[in-house]
Assembly symmetry: C2
Homo-oligomer: 172 residues x 2
């Protein structure tokens, strides 16, 4: 059974929607995908550090469309791990765990990994929205989930998907 | 640079000392190493589940002798990760992170991994007190740190050490 290392932020949890909303509250206008495409989050949202440290930020993120249904199917066919960077913002640990328990209750605690760097992760397939994670992955298959920050970049090494239906097409 | 996956409970943090003390408070007598050697913690300490769920259990563990000094040296010579099972007891996540920050301040958040299962960990050397982690490790070198629960078992697959001086002898 092949092992999948599945990212959380930006793949299961809609970080951008959270940032768009908080940024709009502070600056009075919702930014558009087009104007932020190709920029890192730090350059897009001036107050991002404050948002990320805010209690509840990670607990209240929306679920990315179709991910619950398709992850449930992947979970039957693959050895699935949720691998999330959660060490930089201490409060995010418990919030992320609670978020997963609420929205992906079929994922057990044995399948959760919270780490600072993903270089230590050993799997066959990695699904992530960050080149920094995919580029160093030692498994066979790397799938890049489109988000604004990666939308204009392409190093030719990863399979790009734009939504969860495309992941289902590749892996189910 | 070789990568080490270093366990926390029972290797850096003295879980048994914590259990001995709490058990003595409840039952009036401190158990001895000899009488619990070869038994799993669950069979040794009748109230263990309550202890593990108690606030502060993981935050107040003592540091195992010589580990701070030797881990600091390993940290210069190896790519070091602290890999700890911390998903079963939710409150342990923040406590373990705070404990590491206090006692091993030179370990950065990028070097911390909290997981349910260690089968997903990719490294060259694993130091752990549990066969269940060492037996499935895919790297070259497995080092079994003696604790009462593993003291009488030997499957011939791992290098056994009894203290941190022996680890220094092997790796420094």
């Amino acid at each position: 059974m092949k092992r999948i290392a599945l990212d959380m932020d930006g793949v299961l949890a809609d970080v951008y929607e959270q940032l768009f909303e908080m940024d709009e509250k502070d600056f009075g206008r919702r930014k558009t995908w087009d104007e932020i495409a190709g920029k890192m989050e730090n350059d897009t949202f001036p107050m991002i550090r404050e948002y990320l440290y805010q209690e509840g930020f990670f607990r209240t993120m929306r679920v990315i469309k179709d991910s619950q249904e398709i992850v449930a199917q992947l979970n039957k066919k693959y050895e699935l791990y949720i691998v999330s960077a959660a060490m930089e913002f201490p409060s995010s640990l418990l919030e992320k765990q609670a978020w997963l328990n609420e929205h992906f209750p079929f994922i057990t605690w044995r399948q959760m990994v919270f780490c600072g760097s993903k270089q230590i992760i050993h799997a066959d397939i990695m699904i992530d929205d960050h080149f920094k994670n995919l580029d160093f992955f030692t498994g066979d298959t790397t799938i890049l989930f489109t988000q604004p920050h990666n939308a204009l970049a392409d190093n030719g090494k990863h399979q790009r998907v734009h939504n969860w239906r495309e992941i289902a097409g590749l892996l189910l």
